[in-house]
Symmetry: C2
Subunit: 212 residues, 2 copies
Amino acid sequence: MDRLRDIAIFSHLSDTQLEKLKKISSVKKYRAKEILFYEGDEPVYLHVLLQGTLKVYKTNHKGQQIFLHQFYPGGLVAELAHFETIPYPATAEFMSDSEVLRIDYKALEKDFFKNPDISFEIIKSLIAKHKILIDVIQKEVILTAEAKVAKFLLENEELFKTLKNTQVASILNLTPETLSRTLSKFKASGLIEVGDEHHIRIVNRDRLQEML
Amino acid sequence: MDRLRDIAIFSHLSDTQLEKLKKISSVKKYRAKEILFYEGDEPVYLHVLLQGTLKVYKTNHKGQQIFLHQFYPGGLVAELAHFETIPYPATAEFMSDSEVLRIDYKALEKDFFKNPDISFEIIKSLIAKHKILIDVIQKEVILTAEAKVAKFLLENEELFKTLKNTQVASILNLTPETLSRTLSKFKASGLIEVGDEHHIRIVNRDRLQEML
DNA sequence: AAAAAACCTTGGCCTATGTCAATAAAATGC
DNA sequence: GCATTTTATTGACATAGGCCAAGGTTTTTT
């Protein structure tokens, strides 16, 4: 269980403290598409993603998923809900087979929260989430579909090569149709090109940038 | 300057610490409609609102304000930007004549951040902001115009009496036209009533609730 | 390699909300 | 209390982006 030491939030703990932590936590495996928690559930454990990917989304009035964020290994999941003991504000679903460290929250709070290193790590984690939420707002409320796609192209040119368009569309909370039409428009105005292998190449970075 | 003691984040400090704090901070007055900072500005001070109201908004592609949040006295403004030394992610504008405590951030960091009480208060403040952002997402991305109005009615029945409809509309990021039409619809279906004095009264709380 | 499934593209249509404009009503100033 | 400015209401119209359907591709399964 030296994996605990690799997790940022616990990296400064002493061996004795790690031992204690081991006692109040356990590892659980999940398969792709399983749900870690639903919006509205009461939190019991603090989860740390050890392996795999986890997406977090809210559901709107028409039942569509509004993608908020994707977690990678090391991520501390949903600490807000714990601190405030409020229900989870979103749903978390595994995108691939994954492993999660489950920590008994109450015990953690009792034994570890006086530790200034831990509270500093928690501040860091909260700030990271804060940024994510600001980005979500930026993406969902401020940007048009075109701007979303332009931004994603500029920031994730590589990802476009590996992800399917439906996946990109769902990250951007757009329909595949809209994404397809937007990309066609960009091609037509010479902002991007499609080589063989169907890979997209950005031709005019500056003009893409201007769309934001 | 005993007002410092009334501010939650500093309430646990000793007299000596408060003295130190006084040295690195100053009070500045602003008039309604003045700007505390613009989106994109580099932060220098940590601001605490002492008096008045401050609204925070982002601007979308068409130059409209997207209202994010309103601060009341005691609020710690924009700590995220400081921790991460990133530019402010939104614009802050005073809604009434106000007073702000400006704290030299670098000095604060040096002298006070080892203090566990302070870091706990910062965690609390971050969590509060986190909640606000989740609410913004809820409001802007998940809810329809009808649901926004229903929610606002349920949660702020009193405010409807004091605020003008344009003000409510701008809090909800709706046009006054849409707000007016939505309220008419609610009246027509007997969810609300308008008495004399133009005050709105909720008639059927449950059915309003269902719209969320 | 054939069949099935998943994905992409394109067209047509729909809906929620914004925009513009005109008028009515209310609030404010003098 | 009248005149002016600010708000509220209503109608007609515009628009972005979703929804549905159909045809063509690509990928996966067998």
